[in-house]
Symmetry: C2
Subunit: 383 residues, 2 copies
């Protein structure tokens, strides 16, 4: 049944608005925390997905962390909210070192990441100049996905040596199994998790054999975090998107559609009956341009459409997105019936990629039992 | 020559940062304004691209407008900055009428858009209830692209009648030739512009024949605005992205690469030598996920890479984008040489879609003769 704006408890929200189902989020957090607890390791949640102090406090082990961030601005904002143990998990640009050091001087145990000798030299030179230590993880490339040195490369030890000689603190290994997003079966997910673990542990042992204690072995991605069966040798796991989940994660098989905690509330503004299209007031500005399911077995286009209560309509997707227009259609080849959604009807659209969609919004409208119970701000955009 | 951060006047900016070349922007604005002046019509610039009061004042005919917006939030923000003649160019959701009326009561000549009988009835009912008038354009679908009623449909006159009977003010016709983005030659662009004009004028005549004065005939898209050869019967032209231009517009042939006024400044943070990849600290959070050139003859992936002074490197593109990582590669099949860009080098990345990329940033760093001369804020994100 379509829900008319006037009949829904969400009717007071402007459209588009970002909704967050609190119970789903709490369940997602508990699921991963419990799983990692059983495997005897700690979660260092990646706060780049939610960029919210309210949510960070629900997902971190303690109000002071540990936590992972993707920008120094996130680090500064979460530090201001009391987080004290932060990993900045993107290889550092030398020009950012002063800002990282300022954070450490404010009392935050910020650690940084390098994956090449030039970065290591820049970190070492800065430590030498300022007579400080700077905890640094060395990133390795456990699956050929993105950044990091190749496992087995003697460069690993050379980087640790350069860091140590400058007075920096080579704390260990980090890796991110981004390749796990291409997994298409439980067996592949389990294998991706084991590969991430094994390569990271092997590199940590290489460092230890060369005399570096390397107390930290940090791995993580949402798929591998959930499908790891053994984390021997790993000291912490990073994951971010699991708090909300999304259509990409459902397509990989890490969650079900019913686990997706965020959606975009939107109003129907028109129809193109000859094309079986419904127009809504959420376009890419509200959904993002992310098309992460485009190469998955089920392409969700710009998102899967649900009624105002959050129940998916069969095969109804956002087929096209302009800045402030979305065009809804049945999935190509579907035999479902286009729902009757008069102008003014409210729909919710599940996103491909929770990080990208939530980044388009200033706050979360927190939903509990169908009511808006809170507004949680995201930290300001920018770097 | 790669420019090291320390040697560039841009070195004080954090990376990633959004740059705006003022002279290019001024030239782009002058080009379209002059063209439309020669054709005897007025520009009603679409402010959704720039979302900047500073830029709005440079592109509008006067500080009070006219202007076009894509959200009521934009309307409110620009109204607060003195704009008095605003078209909200997305078909209105009935729940937004009160907010639109509040803006009119504050002294803004806001006009709205409808394209179906349900919207028209909602507008009419509101006007009747409040004993007010509400200037309304009826959107027509001049090229099968998105919203709007089909030219020739008797519904057009019925909508005007419903509006008028309620006391609303059916002011005329609006259309947007979004299909012009698929044009691939000058002849096709000229034809798209003439089709947009002809269909809009024909519909206005249909309304006039039925007794509606229809003083406004509003058309526009950046491609058709530039390639219109005759605008007889058109009273105003809307366009937005031309202020900045982008790789999509260059791919269509509306501008050259040298006209693109915005770019994202980024730092090199690493390399994958075995894959001929350069890693930078701008990912999709800085570039957006827009892949608007993916189906053009030249795919620019996530953007075209230039040196710190803005000169493109041959065939160097952002091949992959994660949230805060970009992976640069030579275009597939290129015989160019990968430039030597050590860690810490600065690059500028030209975007596929200026609206989407600038929406990822809080402000413009205005560049004149290689120096940062101003910071112009964007209006706050949201609706």
């Amino acid at each position: 049944m379509p829900v008319n704006a006037a009949e829904s408890p969400l009717a007071r929200l402007p459209t588009p608005s970002l909704l967050l189902e609190q119970q789903r989020m709490d369940r997602n957090i508990a699921r991963l925390t419990d799983h990692l607890g059983r495997l005897g390791t700690t979660l260092r949640p990646h706060l780049k997905t939610t960029k919210s102090v309210d949510i960070a406090r629900r997902v971190m082990v303690s109000p002071s962390g540990p936590a992972t961030v993707s920008t120094l601005k996130e680090a500064e904002e979460f530090a201001a909210a009391g987080v004290r143990d932060i990993l900045y998990a993107v290889g550092i640009a030398p020009a950012k070192l002063d800002r990282a050091i300022a954070l450490r001087r404010s009392g935050v145990d910020l650690s940084i990441v390098v994956d090449n000798i030039d970065q290591a030299r820049a970190v070492a030179a800065k430590c030498r100049e300022l007579k400080i230590s700077l905890p640094t993880l060395i990133e390795i490339d456990s699956d050929g996905h993105r950044a990091g040195i190749q496992p087995g490369d003697p460069l690993l030890v050379e980087i640790a040596r350069v860091l140590q000689e400058g007075g920096a603190d080579p704390r260990g290994i980090m890796t991110h199994a981004g390749g796990s997003y291409d997994a298409r079966s439980e067996a592949q997910l389990i294998a991706a998790a084991e590969q991430e673990r094994a390569e990271a542990v092997k590199c940590a042992e290489q460092l230890r054999a060369a005399g570096f204690a390397s107390p930290v072995v940090s791995v993580g991605s949402t798929p591998t975090a959930h499908f790891a069966r053994d984390l021997t040798g790993v000291t912490e796991v990073r994951a971010g998107v699991f708090v909300f989940f999304d259509l990409v994660m459902a397509g990989i098989g890490v969650c079900s559609i019913d686990d997706i905690a965020i959606s975009v509330l939107s109003s129907v503004i028109g129809h193109q009956p000859s094309k079986n299209q419904i127009l809504v007031d959420a376009g890419w500005m509200a959904m993002s341009r992310d098309r992460g399911t485009a190469n998955q077995p089920v392409d969700q286009f710009y998102g899967l459409v649900c009624d105002a209560a959050g129940r998916p309509y069969p095969d109804l997707i956002m087929r096209y997105a302009n800045q402030e227009h979305g065009v809804l259609e049945l999935r190509p080849g579907s035999t479902a019936k286009l729902p009757d959604l008069p102008v003014g009807s409210l729909v919710r659209i599940l996103p491909n990629h929770a990080c990208a969609t939530s980044a388009q919004h200033s706050h979360y409208n927190v939903i509990l039992d169908g009511q808006v119970v809170a507004k949680w701000p995201r930290i300001q955009p920018g770097w």
